[in-house]
Symmetry: D3
Subunit: 210 residues, 6 copies
């Protein structure tokens, strides 16, 4: 069960709104590696998880990502809200201006609607943790790029906070994976065919036959 | 900011798992009128809302829908988790069995991935409330149909709770709309062309010219 | 059965083509709340409707929306057709210029292809009418915003006509809903759990248990 | 402008409803090569067409496909409407049963929502006609397969009518293409590099260099 | 089985990178009529083909299209790679800049992700060949438009090569269709209703009854 | 550049076709973690890669996955080709039967069309390798589940080969990542805020302030 607290997890301040940057920020709101993707991937994995400790971890981080979604959305909204005011501003992102009245939508920086096709959920605990570690690495690099294009100190500050938390999550997922004590190339139960799993060759089968 | 409480908003009990019913339940998990759609529609509208009271309402109900998402997902998981066990069971829903290992995914009852294209968010407060009232009516009827197809008393009990809450939300959104004091056919600021907005005719323009 | 009459329902005149506005107009051609969405929502509801009078209303308004689709498409085409001429013009919308040769496509203002995921069709007559009333309110506000960004008097005139008709439809759907004589919070047949449907609380269940 | 006539273009009769066949029929309602795809492809091409005669052809056939959409939808509805009645019936297609209340939706036989990504519209008149000729061939073969799986004489009769019309359209589009007097391998204005356009080789460039 | 040769099928040279043109090029990389669509349509048709000669043709041309995909992607990458460098450059395409770090992605010129909904595969050999002939015509016209907007001689040269190959494929598919010896209006096995398949009338059925 | 060799990388034999299993196999053909997803993710990363050695690895494994796609597609085709024969067989998967004539399509086991939204491509070499390691782990577990539901020895044999290769790729990507010599929590260039990246707390910011 979720409780909503009327307060952002990290207070955001925007000096002067920057429409095009607001648009870029949507990548972390409704984009492929954004906060909703993270929140949903971990929370649905959590729902499917039978181990209480791992379930807690997944639900806790999933919930934190929801709080991040709120931060990113609030920040983007501050940059975009004038979108509906004048024609030249509306041209920057007609979808936000005309369909959204200057409000944010669950889409990426080019207006593609968020889809659950972004998620990686297999129901195999260690495999899901590996997917999450990779997901955090992707989110970190996207925040880094956003910081690189950001000219507003207040926004940069919030992005630095969010970026840092992705590393914290990456560490937590890695610790959880290691606590399972599985060999790093041991996935599932059926062993690969001995010998074949180590060779590197673009045509493994053909090469040995010809 | 969201807090996660390790407890379902409504405790669910499942007598005997029913795979096909678990599959049907996904309609309210990742379907077009399901709980994620409701949670995201209200929460994103809330992010875009400047009026503090309406914002609170949207965030609160959005959060409750997230808690409902957890209930529906938990319930569906209980019905579906044997999916990975045997071949004949896997045939009921190969996507859940093979891709998900018996876990739930953010899709509808036929496996279509959830998409933000389901959401109706315009950034116009009264219009958004109207969309929400209609959304709650749709969710209510979907729960009613699920109850009609459900043979497990514990599941029925949870669905009755969820269905009832949709009516509670419908009332809350209606009260919020009425508190704005707008005429029910007055949308936005530009008035319709006098006279023309009342006539009913499939070819309004042609009819008067010919 | 449909007949096509070689004449627009409302004659459109464009003074000087405005590429970026043409692009914005696509929101009402192939966008989430645009004319195709309206035409398809009402027509498919009509196909599913057993009551002859409501079926007629749905098919008639659905057909009028098809005629509106033709108006909006023609208008957008007039604004966009030079798109293929020069490089700088093509940059405004490369999809229309390169894939479409300056012609319109069934997409929104940012190039997202139209999808039936936009539609709200439940097969429950009063619920469908509620969805339609909300849909008309959304379409009205989108037209209003387009008028606000439009600098061409001829285009504005056509948009005013289209916007007015949305209110006419909103009234017609409201009258149809009222003629059904249902209480406004009575949806379907299964009553909500008494008491619970009125309380407003983010954690209805927990609050009373703790 | 479209007029709606309260009469199907071809009267449909269904002896005994066949749920699974109704489901198959959706392929021609909201599927990739179905009637909506045909109607939209030709109508939008028509909107973009500057030649009056070809425009008329495209709008006329586009309109006929809309009338076909109504026939297919009505037929599918007759087969599917009991879907909401009992649990075992609902299992055939939970999406139609639960989300649609036994009514048809704009999706294919496996529940995928219709998308404008199915359409082929380039704004180049002869290229569009070629796409239409191929589209009619695809629609013909889909109807033929549906007839092969159909056990109801009344439904078969309607499908034979619809299938026949696809050939009529194929002939009309072919005649229109021929009337343009273009060489069949002459597309657009820029000629291919002489010599190279005839050779057949999987690695055309490499082969001559090595 | 595929072998990869470390060499482009056609060497590409780019004088001065042109970000907006790189963006336009994506239309032929991950767009509706682009090289991936061609490669996948022919290769999957080939997998389904029982006739050895036609299967070879489909697999060979499908493979050539994969090599074209590599050319187009390499070309687009050369134009786009500075995207991540400065803010004003990133504004041209925030998705490529922020999510892709200046690298290409399988999307069209407006960022829509490639989808198999673009493909036309029926499993009926002659119908598939007709779809392929039309697909090549579309690809040819898109290359022609790209050449028209291209200011870099090296890029133009590569596009001319690619465009020419589409005509070569069009000829090969046409020859394959003709070798089947089928009448051009004979599709499948069930004949259309005699007489009706030739008449041209928007309301064929009604017209003769009234 | 790609060469096509008329021979499968691994010969497949099917004892008795199993329609429902053929359907399940589509998960690895056009599903979210299937062979096309792997082939495209690695190949597009390869196109974007500036380091020659890593580029070779990505292109080689990407090409091997294309050869695997051909194996899986051929296997699925063997299981599915009778789909078009009789009505009861067609009911198993109407999309394959009616739209595809018994041929495979680029969709998953529930008919959802393949989409590039499945891909994880960031243009950051080490991040991409992490995504690939996780992708191989997911593919391995999906093959394992397919083997568990497979009753045909010949099919099982091919799946064991394919599953083994995923581990081989996982090892190759891991070696490539390690050869870069980066700390496992060091992503990109901007360091996380010291201290904060290690703490584990669902509300990191709030907790220290309150």
């Amino acid at each position: 069960m979720y409780h909503y607290v009327k307060k952002l997890m990290y207070a955001v301040k925007v000096g002067s709104p920057d429409l095009r940057f607001g648009n870029m920020l949507l990548e972390q709101f409704g984009g492929a590696n954004g906060e909703l993707a993270a929140a949903m991937q971990y929370s649905v994995q959590g729902l499917n998880c039978d181990d209480p400790k791992r379930k807690d971890l997944l639900m806790d981080i999933g919930t934190e990502e929801l709080s991040h979604l709120e931060i990113v959305g609030t920040l983007a909204r501050m940059h975009l809200k004038d979108m509906k005011r004048t024609r030249d501003i509306a041209e920057v992102d007609p979808l936000i201006a005309i369909a959204g009245g200057g409000g944010v939508a669950l889409c990426n920086s080019l207006g593609a609607a968020w889809t659950a096709d972004y998620l990686k959920i297999t129901g195999e605990p260690d495999v899901d943790l590996r997917s999450n570690i990779a997901a955090e690495a992707r989110a970190k690099i996207v925040y880094e790029r956003l910081i690189g294009f950001c000219e507003d100190p207040g926004s940069k500050d919030a992005l630095q906070f969010l970026m840092t938390r992705e590393i914290a999550h990456m560490k937590a997922f890695t610790a959880a994976l290691e606590s399972m004590g599985k060999d790093r190339f041991s996935i599932g139960k059926i062993p690969p065919t001995p010998g074949r799993e180590s060779e590197y060759s673009p045509d493994p089968d053909v090469s040995e036959k010809e």
